[in-house]
Symmetry: C2
Subunit: 144 residues, 2 copies
């Protein structure tokens, strides 16, 4: 066990030691775990929005650029490459002129997108409560 999170004292499987790095592993809470990197690609500034946009269907580079409000072409390009490398996004390039490249989610990407969208929807739905909470917080802080 890498340390950090995952049950404090009660370890669910005492035989975990028998599988050094094989079976489970992958603990996002551990600094060095590769899953932390993937999670950052997925939840990063542009990753989440890109996946969210692609969840609605295949899109071309500049379509994506317009959809994800505020992303620069450099960042979009970078984001797409990271997601493609992680196997979440599929890139389909046609060697025509002018070139045409379509991006869409892989099955794995769709699985992640589902969870991500659930989170996004949850946050969007909570906005009124959040705004209220902020107002209260600021009122108490601002007064003092």
């Amino acid at each position: 066990m890498t340390g950090s999170i995952s049950s404090p004292g009660g370890d669910s499987s005492a035989d975990a030691d028998l599988f050094p790095t094989e079976a489970l592993a992958y603990d996002v809470f551990a600094r060095a775990c590769p899953s932390r990197g993937v999670l950052e690609h997925v939840t990063g500034r542009w990753g989440g929005l890109t996946i969210g946009a692609l969840a609605e269907g295949s899109l071309r580079f500049n379509e994506l650029r317009r959809r994800v409000d505020g992303v620069s072409e450099k960042m979009l390009s970078q984001t797409l490459q990271a997601l493609e490398r992680d196997g979440l996004v599929h890139r389909e390039a046609q060697p025509t002129n002018p070139p045409r490249v379509d991006y869409d989610l892989t099955p794995l990407g769709r699985a992640v997108a589902g969870r991500l969208l659930a989170l996004i929807t949850c946050v969007e739905g909570a906005m009124e409560q959040v705004l209220d909470a902020r107002a209260r917080y600021d009122a108490e802080r601002g007064a003092r």
Copy 2:
């Protein structure tokens, strides 16, 4: 509708226009939407891990610091303040000496945590596929 994402042509409810900024609104894909900020707090470098840690139960400042591997006290403090302001985290300070402060999730925070944990679990579970995808990607790219 702010623009950017949200169904391309097919709008599910034609009467959406009757509720200018009341009902739905909050579109993360729009640059200026406050929900984007909240989502960034939740999914940010430390926000997600902090929420994940608190999902297991109430924790004190330094306990959290140890749990979330790699976070500095400055970042943790900052993160907690943002989450508290957003109404996701509750801060309970006891005016004792030495001081004792407990943090835990609000009901809203727990709702978000659920979705977040689902995402994290999904990503962790996909790690093998991701690592495979990366290997393939690098092989093709490195060769050329």
